[in-house]
Symmetry: C3
Subunit: 365 residues, 3 copies
Amino acid sequence: MLKGKDLIDPKDLSLEEYEEIFKLAEDMMENREKYSEIAKGKILATLFFEPSTRTRLSFESAMLRLGGGVLGFSEAASSSAAKGESLGDTIKVVSAYGDIIAMRHPKEGSAYLASKFSKYPVINAGDGGHQHPTQTLTDLLTIKRKLGRLTNLRIGICGDLKFGRTVHSLIKALARYEGNSFVMISPKELDIPMYIKEELDRIGNVEYIETTSLEEHIEDLDILYMTRIQRERFADKEEYERLKDSYILTVDKLENAKEDMIILHPLPRVNEIDYHVDEDKRAAYFDQAEYGIYARMALIALILGLVSDNGAKCEKSNKEVIVNKEVKCNNKNCITNAETQPFKRIYKIEGEEFYRCGYCDKAIL
Amino acid sequence: MLKGKDLIDPKDLSLEEYEEIFKLAEDMMENREKYSEIAKGKILATLFFEPSTRTRLSFESAMLRLGGGVLGFSEAASSSAAKGESLGDTIKVVSAYGDIIAMRHPKEGSAYLASKFSKYPVINAGDGGHQHPTQTLTDLLTIKRKLGRLTNLRIGICGDLKFGRTVHSLIKALARYEGNSFVMISPKELDIPMYIKEELDRIGNVEYIETTSLEEHIEDLDILYMTRIQRERFADKEEYERLKDSYILTVDKLENAKEDMIILHPLPRVNEIDYHVDEDKRAAYFDQAEYGIYARMALIALILGLVSDNGAKCEKSNKEVIVNKEVKCNNKNCITNAETQPFKRIYKIEGEEFYRCGYCDKAIL
Amino acid sequence: MLKGKDLIDPKDLSLEEYEEIFKLAEDMMENREKYSEIAKGKILATLFFEPSTRTRLSFESAMLRLGGGVLGFSEAASSSAAKGESLGDTIKVVSAYGDIIAMRHPKEGSAYLASKFSKYPVINAGDGGHQHPTQTLTDLLTIKRKLGRLTNLRIGICGDLKFGRTVHSLIKALARYEGNSFVMISPKELDIPMYIKEELDRIGNVEYIETTSLEEHIEDLDILYMTRIQRERFADKEEYERLKDSYILTVDKLENAKEDMIILHPLPRVNEIDYHVDEDKRAAYFDQAEYGIYARMALIALILGLVSDNGAKCEKSNKEVIVNKEVKCNNKNCITNAETQPFKRIYKIEGEEFYRCGYCDKAIL
């Protein structure tokens, strides 16, 4: 059941719970009036320790459309953190200001830490390069809405597959559904990390291919998910110059694409989708941004218990062993290396030989 | 009819539409309770790409007083714009967060561009040095409220007439009403630009005089609109020192003024109105600031269709020929020179020999 | 009666008025639903000329929980102040945006000045190093809630007693109640200022001792109020190093403390309360932060007249003589030395031989 849950990692939700969110979100799209007062008297606290205007406004719009109130901050510069206060203390105090929290923080594992200290449910709005579950939720909702299903899809993901957090999350999420296969389209320098492929292999029955050519495979795709390639990611700048246009989507490249293929992008887009593509009916990225509001409305409504729950069964955790150990995480950007406050570090053994940090999920070497 | 309209330029509204706004605003002043829930469930998005606390808070107060919700941002520093996203894309996404947009942006023509991409009505809260129509609306409402009419007035405008956007807009707005005449009071260095005078001449029957002396003409005025003279505007700083006190309003200068003259100022004022003048009953500038909230309340209520419209007739555009041409605008601060996104540029021929940029209205040379 | 009052200084409220606030705040804690709509249609304007996220969010949470709206700004950098506008003018304009103001400003006396220019009631949310009455209100409410009384208490105050505004305010507030005594625990460098002791002497029957040892006196205390000692306050850094641990509260030091002693801290805490103390049932500092919301809810509700007043009698001012004089205040950080606007300066003679500045309360030498 979603009521009272935190959402830190997309894996926190079972497929049944996702289905419940999608159903409610779509009902909210059709019947906006019906839900315009259900959060009356409730407050969403948007605690953004680094700015992300798009995500923050999406959450705020969601809460206001439910008739609730919003408060928060959008950067930590002059806050107590600068005075040496621990994130745990900050969360203990500010979580009391709201009934539900949406938190964005530059350190990995920070959202999990917040959920341990917060009085009220926490939604991770992005913790460093780690997770951004409501982006994934939005992507899935968009696919569901546009194509009517989340199974038996051939999904092309194009661009920077190495550094794209959104991409990794989406692949892992879609791999939970039956019959999905992936076409990973990128320059060699930015190909999909080994650990993602290993995870797909571990799940089994998830077909994927890797290619450098968008044109060669576009005709097979039900979904084309575009991401931006940044010059900074290339050691060899000439290589970037040589390659960059191959990963830009233009109208002509759509010639052989399926009629009902959908084109997604997490936005902002710079030049990786040409503006003329916007007029093609397959371009779904602006609807995608708007659906994000409904995804968040449904999530908030269910977590706060504002609608009758259908009793969707929860996800059984795949974390086999939880060990409390004072072992140091190697990730410099993990919250456990930022906090001066001593607390228990939870490590997971997932059937792997090594431990993982219970906050940022990186392997402990 | 105002419902669903954008307000980009004061000329977008007919005199009938202005009258409708004034009537509603005055009813709102008298009967605040009556309107306190009409915007329930609606959201105003304040998209301020440069800060302007006064204007933003006035809009937010207006929406809250109507029972609506507000969200937004007040500077663009860390936003997607910094990542290279076009304004058009930004507007497409963020406009979905609200039901009505109030936008402030440093580039001229940006509000018009936003209205082309936005799903919902856009109110221009200031686009560079170009337009700020709700300021003009507020000024007109104040005059209407205090003097009971907008016709047959002798309006003195004092201070910086060269660079004052607010002043140009007010003159053009008041020139649409019958029987109004202007006394333009300024140092020679800051006198009213030629193109404003030409526009008045073109309208015909609008009398105006130019003078450097406030004292000589104050006794004729129904309205005295004060503006600030900045030292920076003078090439010759000694000239500034010599002149500056002549354009400061003090109590003694009011000796010969009409009893029912009103003194206006867009605020903030620094020293151009002496503080002792505040106690004079003719000082209307603080009421003017407060009326701004009601002007915006009425405007929002009518654009969102929250009150029954009296079917005020729209303004017929005086733009005779619309030509789509890829001609470059010379204005460095025009949004068309900032956007990398290709789009059609709309040029107006107004019975002048030259083209004007359809976004910032400056002449194309 | 609280309706329509400003709250600039904790002394503005009588003990009866405090009692009324406490009673209402505790009812609000028990019956949150009952009050969730009483401020409908009302607006709180949070005017924070310097940021203080914690205080601002506490006020905003309070207003939203009462069903009211909030707007405001949280730093003055790009505001009109930068353009040379006086605080008085700013307040005249922005006070019209709300029905009640909470103001934070870096200059002492600024809140008092604001109350003179504001159309609506002003709550001082901190004026420089001068007053922060809602912090004191929160501290008193916490003591009332946890110990059931504000009389016959032995209050230990530990840490920086020299520079702690919160501490001075709390001592003066508690000294108004019968039977209270103080144990002032600090290093010699940071002991309680003479003028506080003189004030206690003047009140009479207020016992206090000064000591450098927390351990020696903890067993007598009903309340232990901890504050942070900053290295910067010490001329001799070695002295700081030598001393610092003596003023840190650890679990072992609690061994002899009373079972029902409460531990308070205005937060943020850095290291002056060890994290293990958090688990002790006497640790009340996080509840204290939460009670701050209810203190503000009750205060706002009473000032706006949203609940029936019990007619608590007001405080009779102890300011015997009010003299309007154009005498310069020596305090560089007083608002009277920042404003270019001429206005009357109000000076108080309190039975002392010297004058005090009517804004910042510092003695005029």
